[in-house]
């Protein structure tokens, strides 16, 4: 099973290496925090988005942890990870925050996240196959 090893950042949060590309096609490497509290695909600080050439022409609302909403700029961008590329919505954060990948990132790449803080393990590997549907009970043989 293909497996990508990540690491913990100084705050003790899991991170992985990704590359991001825009319409110009050049890939830019980032260390992205895997944030399962973020339901989206990718969040980038605006100063990181400009060199990539991302076309900032959309907006959407995000729901913050306190339940309030905030408007963010967005664009489409490509993420390259584990030999694959997926295009998705990039949420642009105007403050200089960390690069985040969220639940949609794991879903789109069909991956699962394994985190063991006590052993320093951050792994992203292929999602497990869905469980087989339950079979109807067989009648007992005479």
């Amino acid at each position: 099973m293909p497996l990508v090893n990540g690491s913990f950042n100084s705050a003790g949060c899991p991170t992985v290496q990704i590359e991001v590309s825009g319409p110009l096609g050049n890939r830019f490497p980032f260390t992205a925090m895997v944030d399962t509290g973020f339901s989206g695909f990718l969040l980038l600080p605006i100063l990181e988005a400009f060199p990539i050439g991302l076309m900032l022409q959309g907006t959407l609302a995000v729901t913050l942890a306190d339940g309030s909403s905030q408007t963010k700029l967005t664009c489409l961008g490509g993420v390259h990870f584990d030999g694959a590329e997926e295009v998705g919505i990039v949420v642009i954060e105007w403050q200089n925050t960390e690069v985040l990948v969220g639940m949609e990132f794991l879903q789109r790449f069909n991956k699962r996240l394994v985190v063991e803080p006590t052993n320093g393990v951050v792994q992203i590997d292929d999602a497990l196959a869905p469980p087989a549907p339950p079979q109807p009970a067989q009648p007992a043989l005479p």
Partner: protein, 89 residues
């Protein structure tokens, strides 16, 4: 033409309320709608990127606002911040 993120968002939300909300929240809860804030045209899809891609195929230079139908936000984030965002595009 709205040229700040807040103006684009406000125009998009106004268009959503006027043209789409009543019908779409009955028919398409949980789906995503990308609204061209200049033409008022909406593009419905199962994912936000599919809605935006459909919109950009029609007009690649459009300013747009994305809505998750029936939800307050398209995404949830795990942090809280209340800083202003006053940019010009």
């Amino acid at each position: 033409m709205p040229k700040t993120p807040d103006a684009i968002s406000e125009k998009g939300q106004a268009l959503y309320r006027e043209k789409f909300q009543a019908e779409y929240e009955q028919k398409y809860p949980g789906k995503y709608l990308a609204i061209d804030v200049n033409s008022g045209e909406g593009f419905l899809a199962d994912t936000p990127d599919a809605a935006v891609e459909a919109l950009l195929r029609k007009n690649q230079h459009a300013y747009y606002h994305v809505v998750r139908i029936g939800a307050s936000g398209v995404y949830r984030v795990g942090y809280t911040q209340h800083a202003p965002s006053q940019w010009q595009l």
